[in-house]
């Protein structure tokens, strides 16, 4: 029987695209109908549609599919393990005493926004390269300081992402593929360097972190030759209600539980140990950077696969939002303007106080957690302005732009669906659906700090530029 005759003999099950009243008419007739949340591909831009069409040419599409399959396999199979802590100068490739790493795509001092400038000057004071913030600003502008994106040094940095030579870093090794990723330590919330604050209390905390917290963590992990399997811990944290970008209470508990037996064996005094435990307990965010390093570690393993359209980096410097795509090896950034973050704010602050979207933390969404795993964290649905249903909606929607599900990290509320993994720029442009990012809001001015949290999206331009470049490259 032909397919047409099969249709005559089946119950009609319609996918409706476009005019919504047709859906209502079909429902009235008891036909099963699904209305597509359709938008013109590539926002209707003929150049983008032509690029999408080119990539869909069967011969090319087959190559891309194979490349993307490989890329997501590498993300899924990556096993990032925390193997130690050390100062950036000792471990981060290319680090020098006068290098400042920052979040997002490349940016020069003069273009940096308030919080990033605040963090840079604070870091220069902390490093002893300037005696005060004023001198630090002059130094930063002098050209003597090398600025570079964290991402270009195997690192990620939360918010301003400012990382200097003597800061202690997580060292996370990919046991499957051998690459290593780094990120610095949480300063805990809110008036902190990474949020642009830089007064004496901030510098003093950084000094304590350098002299006590960092060395103690380093020594503890030296006592633990096995390292800590972060992926396993991440999977547990998600089952305990974290999405591991804005909610880290479970992950932090798990991490400190794994660290404690070693921390208490270090050469530090009980008093110092108590200081460290109190510090960790002072904010749920302690493990936030840890999950960023895990994500970076897995995604770096998937970068540079010829023909792949999978996004391996999403990062913001407070002015621009940049993405990297696996099929464009090295440090090719595609950028668009950083967006506003919309969400609840601390008492006393208003939306107009917000700095634009900033930080490398969107690496977590690139991996499939954070906003992508919103359904695991019903406790923080207020962030996305809504209901638990909305939270679930975010996670299912992200499936529309991703390639696979990661079976190692699952979402109980969605019948243990794996986290949506492998953002495909083709799908983003076809659907008009942008990756959703959970993130913090820094005050737009230097010196103040965190003032809220919410959700944001990348600019579509970044994906548009990426597909044009990729099409030209193929």
């Amino acid at each position: 029987m032909s397919k047409i005759n099969e249709l005559f003999n089946s119950k009609l099950n319609v996918i409706n695209v476009g005019i919504e009243s047709f859906k209502d008419d079909l429902s009235q007739q008891n036909a099963t109908v699904t209305h597509l949340e359709w938008a013109p591909p590539g926002r209707g831009n003929p150049e983008i549609i032509a690029a999408l069409d080119k990539l869909e040419d069967p011969a090319l599409a087959e190559k891309i599919e194979a490349a993307n399959k490989l890329a997501v396999e590498r993300i899924v199979n990556s096993q990032p393990v925390l193997i130690g802590f050390d100062q950036a100068i000792n471990v981060v490739p290319g680090m020098t005493k006068k290098t400042i790493l920052h979040a997002g795509p490349p940016i020069t001092w003069d273009k940096m926004n308030g919080p990033m400038k605040g963090a840079v000057t604070g870091a220069l004071v902390f490093e002893g390269l300037a005696k005060d913030l004023e001198e630090a600003a002059e130094l930063a502008a002098s050209g003597e300081i090398t600025f570079a994106p964290c991402h270009e040094h195997n690192c990620v940095g939360s918010m301003a992402g400012v990382t200097s030579a003597s800061m202690y870093m997580h060292i996370v090794e990919n046991k499957t593929y051998g690459n290593i990723a780094y990120t610095n330590l949480s300063e805990q919330l809110s008036k902190i360097l990474r949020m642009g604050a830089n007064d004496e209390s901030v510098i003093n905390r950084l000094i304590w972190m350098r002299d006590t917290l960092g060395p103690m963590l380093k020594e503890a992990m030296e006592l633990n030759p096995e390292g800590i399997d972060l992926r396993l811990m991440l999977a547990q944290a998600l089952h305990m209600g974290d999405e591991c970008h804005n909610r880290n209470v479970a992950g932090t508990t798990l991490l400190v539980q794994a660290l404690t037996p070693y921390l208490i064996q270090t050469s530090f005094t009980v008093e110092q140990q108590k200081e460290v435990f109190d510090f960790i307990a002072s904010s749920d965010y302690f493990s936030g950077p840890t999950w960023m390093a895990l994500s970076k570690c897995a995604l770096d393993a998937a970068h540079g696969i010829e023909n792949s359209t999978i996004v391996t980096t999403m990062a913001r410097n407070g002015v621009e939002f940049g993405i990297r795509v696996s099929g464009m090896p090295g440090f090719t950034w595609f950028t668009g303007p950083a967006q506003k973050v919309v969400g609840p704010m601390f008492a006393g602050y208003k939306p107009e106080d917000s700095g634009l979207d900033i930080g490398d933390s969107a690496i977590t969404e690139t991996y499939g957690i954070g906003g992508f795993a919103m359904a695991t964290a019903p406790a923080i649905v207020a962030l996305v302005g809504g209901t638990v249903e909305d939270a679930i909606g975010y996670s299912t929607k992200m499936k529309e732009i991703t390639t696979t599900e990661n079976p190692n990290v699952t979402i109980p509320m969605l019948d243990f669906m794996g986290i949506p993994t492998g953002i495909d720029i083709q799908k983003v442009l076809q659907t008009g659906v942008l990756p959703v990012i959970n993130t913090a809001i820094a005050h737009k001015d230097a010196g103040i700090g965190m003032i809220g949290a919410g959700i944001t999206y990348p600019p579509m331009e970044a994906f548009e530029k990426a597909i044009i470049a990729l099409t030209e490259n193929l």
Binding site: N16, I380, G385
Partner: protein
């Protein structure tokens, strides 16, 4: 301005909820500043910094919830407190999963079998291709799709054994479900393949009225029988209906096909084991008969032939013959200078049929859809002699909804024609069914009444013929629609064919 403080001991809210609550609290009228926070040192610090510290706040413990409101209003604190207990309306259960692309919908809904595509023509071909690639049959309502794309899509569909109805296909009924613009008709044993939407609607409605019913109504889109497209969908449609056990009789509806395509269709009719009724508006009887088909010159005739071939008892049918005494009566009322018909149609095929009926007796019949360029309206906004206008044609739909949805353009034109003393008859269609206006006659009614009054005041009779295309099963009430017409003094025609015939006969002079 007062500062009100409420400490709720041993009450826990997570920080994110508190931020959200604070945001809402600060929006309450009269509130200058509201802080809702747990009693941590950090939060107390914030409160101290904004100068709202009180001894109660100082004493709060980490496990206590602090509410501090600085406000002019005495009830502010109460209002803020309400926020804590306010519940959202219960949700309607699990959220509906939505899909953004045809591919992902098709992959996630394994039983999906057909895509209706009604997006801007710029994007429509791409979506249709995706649907076909995912083994979905396609009904493409979109127009402004290139012939090249149409050929590619139909070729792909043909290779995959799928329906590719359209582009520019407004009407189909598959498995008794009406798609886009179609009427509720009985299930039966007659299959239709139609290249014209309202033509197919008319046949299905007439079959229903004669007591028959429809198996499937396959739309092909208006260009299917052109030389370039080659009738791919109509040929596949005939084959599918031939193979369909439930279908006993097949009806084809179209404008006359391109000669080479006509040959292919006739060859297919010749091979077909089931009777095929052919209504090609203005088509050639001899060729059809030679191919073994059953030729119909007009729509009602086509429907009648189909139901008889399908086994209806002719003696029991009400064939709705033309009301000859009425023709005499109207002719007598019209003045000698009231010579012309003005046909104002929302359905293209209905317009075409009435026009062809008029052309049998008059040679001065003009239209925006005339095939002969000599009889195309020079200016579609200005009527000349006998004029038939299809308001669904591109001339009138640029940037406007179809007249079956939005009657405004036709209404304006109607008033203009009503004022013309050379006009004897205005004939109009009113299409019911899915997709169409909720009350098409009602929308036109004030204009009809006004026109009648105007003509009367000028001492002439204006004959208005309305044809309501629909069945008693349609969501708009057919009887109501007809009664509204009659009440306004219009003449109701019982079919598209009769509407055309009445209009023509009313203005024939001296027969």
């Amino acid at each position: 301005m007062t500062v009100q403080v409420l400490i709720k001991t041993n009450t826990y809210f997570d920080s994110v909820s508190l931020m959200s609550l604070s945001t809402k609290a600060n929006q309450i009228e009269g509130v200058e500043q509201a802080i809702i926070a747990m009693g941590t040192e950090m939060n107390k610090e914030v409160i101290r910094n904004v100068g709202l510290m009180t001894p109660e706040v100082e004493a709060a413990k980490t496990s206590d919830l602090m509410i501090i409101v600085k406000s002019e209003s005495a009830t502010a604190l109460e209002e803020v407190e309400e926020l804590l207990t306010k519940k959202k309306a219960p949700s309607k259960g699990a959220s509906e999963i939505t899909y953004a692309t045809i591919k992902s919908a098709a992959e996630n809904i394994p039983d999906a079998n057909l895509a209706v595509i009604a997006v801007n023509g710029m994007y429509a071909a791409r979506e249709a291709r995706k649907a076909l690639e995912n083994d979905l049959h396609v009904m493409m309502f979109s127009d402004n799709v290139s012939v090249e794309d149409e050929i590619k899509l139909k070729t792909l569909a043909h290779e995959k054994g799928l329906l590719m109805m359209g582009p520019d296909c407004g009407t189909a009924i598959i498995g008794n479900v009406a798609l886009c613009f179609a009427n509720s008709v009985r299930k039966g044993n007659i299959g239709i393949v139609g290249a014209s939407g309202t033509g197919s609607q008319e046949i299905s409605v007439r079959i229903h009225e004669f007591g028959g019913g429809i198996t499937q109504l396959i739309g092909t889109g208006g260009r299917d029988l052109s030389e370039a497209v080659g009738g791919i969908m109509m040929l596949d449609g005939i084959k599918a209906l031939e193979a369909d056990e439930a279908t006993k009789v097949i009806v084809l509806v179209s404008k006359p096909p391109a000669p080479s395509v006509e040959e292919k269709v006739l060859a297919q009719i010749k091979e077909c084991t089931k009777p095929v009724v052919v209504w090609f508006i203005g088509g050639d009887e001899e060729k059809v008969t030679k191919a073994g088909g059953h030729f119909a010159k007009m729509s009602k005739e086509a429907a009648l032939k189909a139901v008889l071939l399908a086994g209806a008892d002719e003696s029991k049918l009400n064939k709705r013959p033309l009301n000859i005494p009425l023709v005499e009566e109207v002719r007598a009322k019209l003045k000698p200078e009231q010579k012309y018909i003005r046909g104002l149609f929302s359905g293209g095929t209905l317009c075409d049929e009435a026009m062809h009926i008029a052309m049998e007796k008059f040679d001065n019949v003009y239209s925006n859809i005339q095939r002969d360029p000599d009889y195309r309206l020079k200016d579609v906004k200005v009527s000349q002699e006998h004029t038939f206008i299809d308001f669904g044609d591109d001339d009138f739909t640029q940037g406007k909804p179809h007249p079956m949805i939005d009657p405004s353009t036709r209404m304006e034109r109607f008033m203009k024609e009503a004022k013309d003393p050379s006009v004897g008859v205005i004939v109009m269609d009113f299409v019911l069914g899915f997709g169409a206006h909720e009350d098409p006659v009602g929308a036109m009614l004030p204009a009809i009444i006004e026109a009648k009054q105007l003509a009367e005041s000028e001492g002439r009779h204006l004959e208005i013929i309305g044809y309501v295309l629909g069945t008693e099963l349609d969501k708009q009430n057919l009887d109501d629609q007809v009664n509204k017409l009659l009440a306004a003094g219009a003449t109701h025609a019982s079919s598209s064919q009769n509407a055309g015939l009445l209009a023509r006969e009313f203005v024939v002079k001296g027969e």
